[in-house]
Symmetry: C2
Subunit: 362 residues, 2 copies
């Protein structure tokens, strides 16, 4: 079957800014993970106005202002929380501290948008569920490997349009490059802080499984983690995998690791393979290996044939505008709160259930 | 990184016939699965002499003799078992009857070569283990998706040569096309006969996990099966998946299904993705979707870059000659007996452990 541009499926129109200058003001607070840059870009691209930046580390603040000079430097997070202009606080704190920050943002009457994983313990999850239910305020999560990847956005549209029938299984491979260990902060290697590999980078994948399968709940039926090759950092995990059964009978599997070889042309060969009753979709998100092509590939196989659809520039990232409108309109169109937290719940439960398959003793 | 022909890794020389005419005589008995053709071709290509064919159904015998006119028609399997010329009996009986046939072949003092899955119950497994241990005779298994796929053979050579370091995880996707239901025999839909989907087509994948990871044993940590879309055949299973932890700390995952869409250019987009400490290998065994290319693709990514290696015509199928020599020399070079049976054990145990995730009641 020849490759085609998937003419049978029309992408939804590219998203446009949903507000004008000053209509939706946000702050960036806690810059521990570099995702805060993409989170801010996403919001700004959808029309939001960045007013403040805060971090304990002046060097991080200065670097952030090189890219976002419009951000005023706050002297404390309290200064941001006290500003009535600020509707939403975007944060990329150390994972174990994300819930505490979010609860303080919500207590200040503002919506919160955190980097994933949004939390690292079931106690934090309970507190977040209670606070969001009580206040109606948002604890939104930047599950970037779906919401900020056009191939994944397009896959969602195709599934919605019935391109592969009912989804039966979602397999996610999330390899990452560890790079120069010296450039990693200490928290990166401390399981209590990053939450474990299935919680940290696994959370992207639990979210995708639930989303693509259209499930509301799931059970982790097995999981494993390991530190195979980084024993100088005994509390690190460089490998994890997990198998889940969802409440609609679909299943999911995720493998995450820090073993991207130096010869790969990007940081990780992220894949998502979605099996449906009427066809399947494969996402080659960041690279199509050994073709010289970059990322953004949707492969769709169904009764119409085999199609290779380049997603780049076709669908954009509707999440950010939807989140802004949700904050203004008190709706839930970008992502249902319970969906975001269910993915977090599975991430933490997979971590708790995981068998350590590391060689010999730790 | 550019695609290359993987010049760093030299395939082992193509296998040649290991015996001359008449030096190794075999018979084909029970033709229920079409794999008997490829099993016979493999043996003949390695030098074996096909003397007999037997099946209860004269039409199957006649069809077989169209391709293999040299095969004499036996009036019963007893006639084959009584022939001292016959060293090995190749069989593709209904899966639930494969062990019984094998035990009779072994009782007649001959080696046995069965289509996969080689057996369907733990009781059969015990009997086969006892008979092979007592007699030293072989109960060899045609795990075609590895031994009769050049991409998989080449992957084994690459791993042996250290191309991806220590193997940590093997993910196998084994979709199959069900085709016209009317052409399928009754046993195809009866779980007691085909053994369940994880036993039947799953067995290929358990064998690959153990082989590529270099493991001797494993535990099935979770599994699921379903009949999602073939409820007219209530004892059929059209979906299965399983997660295993191997004795060397590597893990494995398999998804098998009968949902290949009609638009795919072949019967199934079989993949094997092997993660190692120093790189990874992806096999696109039967098709490289949306490229117009057929099968036989090895993708190797390690510190040397991203390589696309076409395996077709490069490595052949050394299993068959090795099996013949093993039978003559009483060695175990083609496949260790316990490895073949361990894969069968995992297949049956996955089936027994599987949660039924079918929608509603069966």
């Amino acid at each position: 079957m020849p490759a085609s541009e998937g003419a049978t499926y029309a992408p939804v129109p590219m998203p446009q800014p949903v507000v004008g200058p000053g209509e939706f003001v946000f702050a960036a607070a806690y810059l521990d993970h570099g995702h805060i840059y993409a989170m801010s870009e996403g919001l700004i691209g959808a029309g939001a106005t960045l007013k403040w930046v805060y971090d304990r580390d002046p060097a991080k603040v200065e670097a952030f202002r090189t890219r976002f000079p419009q951000a005023q430097v706050a002297s404390s997070d309290a200064e941001i929380l006290a500003d009535p202009d600020v509707r939403l606080v975007a944060g990329a704190a150390v994972p174990s501290e994300r819930a505490d920050l979010g609860l303080r943002v919500i207590a200040a009457g503002k919506d919160y948008f955190t980097d994933k994983a949004p939390l690292t313990t079931l106690e934090q999850l309970d507190a977040v569920r209670e606070a969001t239910a009580r206040t109606g305020l948002k604890y939104a999560v930047y599950y970037s490997e779906r919401i900020h990847v056009e191939a994944a956005v397009l896959a969602g549209q195709l599934i919605e349009q019935g391109a592969i029938g009912k989804v039966l299984q979602v397999t996610c491979l999330g390899p990452h490059r560890i790079g120069d260990l010296e450039t990693r902060p200490n928290w990166f290697f401390e399981r209590d802080k990053f939450g474990g590999i299935l919680c940290d980078i696994g959370s992207h994948n639990f979210e995708q499984m639930l989303y693509f399968a259209g499930a509301r709940n799931a059970e982790v039926v097995s999981a494993s983690v390991a530190n195979h090759a980084h024993r100088d950092h005994p509390m690190f995990e460089d490998f994890g995998d997990a198998h889940i059964v969802m409440d609609n009978g679909a299943t999911g599997f995720v493998r995450v690791d820090w073993f991207t070889p130096s010869g790969l042309s990007t940081w990780g060969d992220g894949r998502t393979i979605i099996l449906g009753t009427e066809g399947y979709i494969e996402l080659r998100k960041y690279v199509n290996i050994a073709t010289g092509e970059g990322g953004g590939h949707v492969f769709l196989v169904n009764d119409d044939g085999e199609q290779h659809i380049e997603a780049t520039g076709r669908v954009g990232y509707p999440f950010f505008g939807a989140l802004i409108r949700d904050c203004l309109d008190r709706t839930e169109t970008a992502m249902i709160q319970e969906h975001a937290l269910k993915a977090a719940e599975l991430s933490v439960k997979a971590q708790l259930a995981a068998r350590d398959v590391s060689p010999a003793i730790r």
